[in-house]
Symmetry: C2
Subunit: 199 residues, 2 copies
């Protein structure tokens, strides 16, 4: 059977994967539970590479990522599995500067999607729909987890995790903001304070 | 003010970050929207490094990760933002072999958490609680997104995204399973077929 036609991106990913397989070596013996016993919750932003900015090798730590690095129910589902079943004992919540989630509101994205589902034009600060039609009102019924104040969002998220009934009190939760201009993670001390172990 | 005492892991992460900052260089100029216009949804598993297995540099692509790499509402929230506001046009769903999510059920984790919140003992296949007491019944009311058949979970997740009312029909969604013994991503052809563009 002939190979299907693939997009340029799809082919590039498969070629990169082939190169990785060629140097994979003894990573085949890595254990399922994270060797260094911690987890990071951070944003999906393309500029962030948690393995690089936090010094992770394969097998070291769980990495959970969503839009904003928010402590959603799904992120907490993942964190509870991470600790209860796979033994992580410390967690980092790492948001970042210039996050897309600071630039819109539930109303803005709801309106954009209601108008149409195509990518909106972005001028670096706001979005507009160049074309119109064939949208969906469903977006107005989703909580998009936008961010109005970066430090505050880290504190809120650390607190939400700290106060969750399925999170063991001895797990410290550290709050940070990654600076996309320097690569540095800067601690949000009030977040780390809110996330300190309670037992 | 003196620095707070930090755990070994916490100090290691800060030291690794210092090294990254030292070589950060021109990554300060990266744009917010992903330069290569795609997103990957994959598992939080510590053995997976999507930047390495898919050949991503900082700025290239969105990476969304949760327990299992499942197409939860939160993952779809992130994907819709990724396309509508930040221009990604192709998506990969990449689960993996030997996933922890294949090894338990909602009932198992619910019972383990109801008994106590400490890390359960893991023998590579199943979990048991060495100690008892101070648990929480809340875990029985969460859908944990466990996986009973790996290929089927990829197909289900690609289909859920494909059929979501806020996902544009022209976005192709590719389904893969990462092999933790080789580093290779193997296509689940029925998933990619289910995820092909509809317009």
């Amino acid at each position: 059977m002939s190979e299907p036609s693939r997009t340029h991106v799809h082919t590039e990913v498969l070629n990169a994967n082939r190169d990785y397989v060629a140097v994979f070596g003894d990573k085949k013996d890595l254990a399922l539970p994270p060797a260094r016993g911690f987890a990071i919750l951070t944003c999906m932003d393309a500029r962030l590479d948690p393995a690089k900015y936090a010094g992770l090798s394969e097998g070291d730590a769980h990495v959970i990522r969503n839009a904003g690095g928010r402590a959603t129910d799904d992120a907490i589902r993942s964190l509870v599995i991470s600790h209860k079943l796979l033994g992580t004992k410390e967690w980092f919540v790492i948001h970042h500067t210039n996050c897309g989630m600071e630039l819109f509101s539930d109303e803005i994205i709801g309106d954009l999607l209601e108008d149409n589902l195509e990518t909106a034009a972005f001028d670096g600060a706001t979005w507009s729909n160049p074309k119109h039609g064939n949208g969906c009102a469903h977006g107005h019924f989703i909580k998009w987890q936008t961010i109005s104040d970066n430090e505050r969002s880290v504190v809120q998220d650390v607190r939400r995790i700290r106060e969750h009934p399925l999170v063991a009190g001895h797990i410290p939760i550290y709050g940070y903001i990654y600076d996309v201009k320097t690569g540095r993670i800067n601690e949000v001390k009030t977040a780390t304070e809110a996330g300190k172990a309670t037992v």
